[in-house]
Symmetry: C2
Subunit: 282 residues, 2 copies
Amino acid sequence: MNYIEKLRASSDTFHSIVCLGLDPVLADIPIQDGGPRQRIYNFYESILNALLHKKIYPAAVKPNYAFYAQYGLEGIACCADVIALYRNAGLPVILDVKRGDIGSTADAYSREAFDFFNADAVTLSPYMGYDSIEPFIKNYPSKGYYILNKTSNKSSADIQDIMVEGRPMYLHVASKIAEWHKPGIGAVVGATYPEQLGQIAEVFVGSGKDIPLLIPGVGTQGGSVKDVCKELTRFSDVRIHRINSSRAINYAYKKYSGLHFADAAAQALKTLNDEINSLIFQ
Amino acid sequence: MNYIEKLRASSDTFHSIVCLGLDPVLADIPIQDGGPRQRIYNFYESILNALLHKKIYPAAVKPNYAFYAQYGLEGIACCADVIALYRNAGLPVILDVKRGDIGSTADAYSREAFDFFNADAVTLSPYMGYDSIEPFIKNYPSKGYYILNKTSNKSSADIQDIMVEGRPMYLHVASKIAEWHKPGIGAVVGATYPEQLGQIAEVFVGSGKDIPLLIPGVGTQGGSVKDVCKELTRFSDVRIHRINSSRAINYAYKKYSGLHFADAAAQALKTLNDEINSLIFQ
């Protein structure tokens, strides 16, 4: 099964297009026993158990590498453990590492993502061009490769919004992504910029190719689910796209007082699934 | 001592502006005993011992993270070990990771680079803009932060050469780097593009700020030392710049048959130091 088929299948199975970000912050994890590795693992194991028990699912998960690597080797070991845990539950795993380096180095990074971490997809930076992307596809042709396009942060404007021959840079990058297209190549577009998401969607829909979007920025970052879903309905098959939420689900216990942290996460995921599904599956 | 001062001091002490890339490829390491961690560590320990013994020094080292991470946890642990080894010998360590992510994530990446790996400098991608750079500077103000500008690979043209209002993208990024300037902010410019290096040097010299260059691409990638040195003489103080060579020094034993791999690496470094010094220190 290639990555696009995997996205469709997981959306059908779990009736969701949500990607659950798994971004550990020890100060926010309400488990005190053990070292970083044990606390993070137990936190995400409890959340997974609550999801399975309540039959509330995301359609992918996305550990962001930085949140593990900040705790050194223990954290990185834990990242591999968490990936295995969620992958064994049948969920596609997007390793959010935003790699980008010359060919021989990209070769090594592809082994890190797909051999060592055994992820289903990876995030990549476009700045160094196609030969920094190609080794991932060549070495692991059935995986997913999300290329940063218009990112959710405020400073994304610094480079991505520079006007080039009357079009902002992010649209040139969108055209490159469509031009580089191979099955599994996707794009990261922030929910915080719905208008730009619409413009990018137009490029991708116009290309006639299946380019899965990974959309971070709803929840804590403030992107509107309604605006994003409106843009997603431009596509013939919305099941290949994923809307990511990390902190607002991981640490939902701060909002739902009285609930166990795992039940709170399940509740927040259910609320997001319901909202999105009501907007896209009518 | 801030990073710029560290660069000047190490150039004076070691009479060099070479950065020695430490990029392990197990298939090329002529040590068979032990697992990846032991083989890589022994390889770079032998090379360091040969350098110290012969009094041949680089003025910085640059482990590229990908080459360690491709071997999983063992490799990453080894990266930390190798950094400690060379740092204890008084060499500035540039961790080549090309990170780039939103603020809260960049925060975590800064801890990885400077707390866990204890590096002196880091490489960063500009694609997500200044808020992906700022946490590194804010959290660790005396370190170095090299931002990708015009990279050495062929496909760097895909994005970096796009013409924007009559100037290629890489010159806009150079202007941004000069505009974002804080002590320690530098730029990565490939030796394979001497003309573009000259244009970027002009922007930086014109800004009146100390912006250290990290220049990969001589040796195996084919960049000309002579061309690079010619451009470097535009700067009032060449000691803050570094010309990187990795494979051509690491695996010089393939060229110098009959020499032990560590002696061959020392010989290759000496040749490069001599060539560069004769061109820049006259």
